[in-house]
Amino acid sequence: MSSDSLRLTVRQLQCERDERVLFRDLAFQARAGEIWQITGANGAGKTTLLRILVGLHGFYEGQVRWHSPLAPDLLYLGHQPGVREELTARENLRFSAALNNQPGDVDAALDAVDLYGFEDVPAAHLSAGQKRRVALARLWLAPKKVWVLDEPYTAIDQNGVARLDQRIRDAAGDGTLVLYTSHHRVGDDVRRLHLGAEAPA
């Protein structure tokens, strides 16, 4: 691939938290159309790494460089789905779509994550898996160039996992860079970044 497809360069990244070095000398380059799976034991710093990449966590050493402005291109799903229980599935999704400048058919997106018929149910009455699906529905709205997904497969049933796999592969095929944390593997061409096995200092 040509160098202009380069999206992200990470160099000598080091992060400490609560007296512990989470990772050190982390370095990788990610390009458009690649899928990166970040693995590691619980507490290895997967969530922290993603938060550093999207600019939510600023206490680190080293360099994180996005080669074009990140904010307009980013679709970030955090560890918590970001769904408020007082609002219905549709209201939640509409708000994130407006906030993230992501036009698209909200109802069709909810359909795509199997929430047909649940659009007007307050999120308080949805199961954990369904709440995550409300958040995941954003993947079916207008495309973004970078997806950063923290444990997108958590609490999702088999059927949903297959759909999500397909969606991620389709997006990557269209040139989206996908970075996600999970133990689940989307396919063979996925690049792996393993955190951990770092001796405590």
């Binding site: 938060r51 999207v54 600019g55 939510l56 966590h57 600023g58 206490f59 904010a71 307009p72 980013l74 970030y76 955090g78 560890h79 918590q80 789905p81 970001g82 769904v83 408020r84 229980e85 007082e86 609002l87 209201e91 509409r94 708000f95 994130s96 407006a98 906030l99 993230n100 400048n101 307050p122």
Partner: protein
């Protein structure tokens, strides 16, 4: 560009509307606290009229402060706050919409309730209008300043009492001029100058406050 701002305003209004306790509790607190004073001090009208400006103002101030603890907490716990901070908008925009919605449904009712409580506290009727204006001009300032504290303590346990320690000293000027203008009205002195001071504090809080709140939220998120 107004998309995210309006969307946030609508969402916040819906949220508060759906959990009316958030709206009613500060108002109820305001009424109960003010009602305690005649019982604790003495029901003598002259005495009550003397302390009324301060009592109503301190109660309003505490009511605003108590309403702020949950301002960002549930968004933080649900992960919605991270969504707001990573969205392609200047984070001051959703923050200011949030603050406006919060004031509309908590601060504004306090201002509307204030003349009634002032009357119960034996304030002379001509001073009640000034009391209302002062609470109307003062509560948004309190909301904005308090939101800075709420943003800084959002991820912390026992944020409530800490919030009080941080922001009550910052509330002093609003209290001084808020109660002061009501006292001036009772004494028959001119009040425009003091209302202008409350307005100046409000303008200052509105112009710099949301920036500080947005920065506080980023700091609390880990930046």
């Amino acid at each position: 560009m107004s998309g995210p701002w309006w969307a946030t305003l609508r969402r916040e209004l819906t949220l508060i509307w759906r959990s009316p306790a958030d709206m009613v509790q500060p108002l109820f607190f305001f009424m109960v606290v003010v009602s305690l004073f005649p019982l604790g001090l003495s029901p003598k009208p002259e005495l009550l009229a003397l302390v009324a400006p301060g009592v109503v103002w301190v109660a309003a101030l505490l009511a605003v402060m108590l309403s702020l603890d949950g301002l960002f907490r549930r968004d933080q716990e649900s992960g919605a706050l991270d969504q707001m901070l990573t969205a392609p908008v200047v984070s001051v925009l959703p923050v200011s919409a949030k603050l406006l919605a919060h004031w509309l449904l908590t601060g504004l009712p306090l201002a509307l309730m204030a003349p009634l409580l002032g009357y119960m506290m034996q304030l002379p009727v001509p001073a009640l209008a000034t009391l209302t204006y002062s609470v109307l001009l003062g509560t948004p300032t309190l909301t904005v300043i308090g939101a800075i504290g709420a943003a800084l303590t959002v991820g912390l346990n026992r944020g409530g009492i800490l919030l009080a320690l941080l922001i009550l000293p910052l509330y002093v000027p609003v209290l001084v001029f808020g109660a002061g203008v009501v006292r001036a009205a009772v004494d028959g002195s001119p009040t425009q100058g003091l209302l202008a001071v409350l307005g100046a504090l409000l303008a200052l809080a509105l112009s710099l406050g949301p920036l500080a709140v947005a920065m506080g939220l980023r700091i609390s998120a880990g930046d």
